[in-house]
């Protein structure tokens, strides 16, 4: 089956994302723009993944469960799972490792946890833009132990990309690296490339995507396709 995938979409939980980005609205928009595989990846938090899973099941769209972790080096790293419980476990570890700095909604924006009907269940208390306690190397180990894919995000960006933070692309067991639509293939060196939207607002969903010809959307199939 041919999957047209956008694996980097933020929900309203990310303080920098538009409040309209509830799982329900995201899924409907993704289907409208021709995607048939998506992942939700909020900053350092997985609290909106349970609602996302229910909406994807209801609407019949293939999905992965993600998170965009800020490493100790302040590089953004996309972590993707095909099992919700594994994603929630990493989410709990990463959120727990964030410093005890609380969000100030008037300055940074709200961090609402929502259900599939777009009702607000509560708010993530810690400021999600802080750096987690995980270095890139430690995160590689955690994600692989939990059965996920680890992909440095937007490596060609000047802000929070792994190259802008470290000065180089380290030799780690990354499953791929993510480029923005303008990124050049050679910046990825020997790693497979994925492109995603990094949508923080509805109109950006699907503005970049990656196609995979695989039997079903699993971490194992994706890894095999990436390195084929």
């Amino acid at each position: 089956m041919l999957y047209r995938a956008d694996f980097h979409i933020h929900s309203c939980l990310s303080p920098c994302a538009s409040l309209e980005m509830s799982p329900d609205v995201i899924v409907k928009r993704a289907q409208a723009v021709g995607l048939n595989a998506i992942a939700l990846a909020d900053h350092n938090c997985t609290f909106n993944l349970p609602a996302f899973e229910r909406v994807c099941k209801k609407e019949g769209i293939a999905c992965l469960y993600g998170m965009e972790v800020t490493s100790t080096e302040e590089a953004h790293i996309l972590c993707l799972f095909d099992q919700l419980d594994a994603a929630m476990e990493l989410g709990s570890r990463v959120y727990g490792s964030l410093p005890d700095i609380l969000n100030q909604p008037d300055k940074f924006g709200d961090q609402p946890i929502v259900d599939e009907q777009q009702d607000i269940l509560g708010f993530a208390e810690k400021f999600l833009i802080s750096a987690s306690g995980y270095t890139v190397s430690a995160l590689v180990g955690e994600v692989h132990e939990l059965g996920g894919l680890i992909i440095p995000a937007h490596i060609d960006r000047q802000v929070y990309g792994i190259i802008s933070q470290l000065g180089f692309l380290p030799d780690e067991a990354f499953d791929a690296v993510e480029l923005t639509p303008r990124g050049k293939r050679k910046q990825a060196q020997h790693y497979p490339v994925v492109r995603n939207s990094d949508a923080h607002q509805l109109s950006h969903i699907g503005r970049a995507f990656t196609e995979f010809e695989i039997e079903s959307l699993t971490v194992e199939n994706l890894r095999a396709a990436l390195w084929a």
């Binding site: 080096e73 890139v136 190397s137 802008s164 933070q165 470290l166 000065g167 180089f168 380290p170």
Partner: protein, 110 residues
């Protein structure tokens, strides 16, 4: 100022002492490693809070001979192992980057 003199400073702990002693010619203060790589001079001491093995990789490429970790941030074991391999001295201090820079600048006559 020599690298070994850093060991004698108040509040400084040497975390990695397998290095060849040499004169420190300059200092560079930054927590953005791509900036360190682009702008740190050969023979500098790097003042930073980035305490992980990639700091050592960048220091090695930039010619940084000693790293001072501020705010008593813990250094990971793989950082210290990498520093030992590269012969880069690593120190830790409770001082912040501003205070450390001011202190080192006095020794370097800047």
């Amino acid at each position: 100022m020599k690298i070994s003199e850093l060991e004698t400073l108040d509040d400084f702990t040497c975390l990695q002492d397998e290095y060849e002693d040499a004169e420190i010619s300059a200092g560079y203060t930054s927590d953005l490693l791509s900036d360190v790589m682009a702008n740190a001079e050969d023979g500098s001491v790097l003042i930073t809070i980035q305490a992980h093995k990639n700091t050592v990789a960048v220091s090695s490429l930039a010619g940084v001979s000693a790293i001072i970790i501020c705010n008593n941030r813990p250094a990971s074991d793989d950082m210290l192992a990498a520093a030992e391999k590269e012969g880069i001295a690593v120190f830790q201090t409770a001082r912040n980057q501003f205070q450390t820079s001011a202190l080192i600048a006095r020794y370097l006559g800047e």
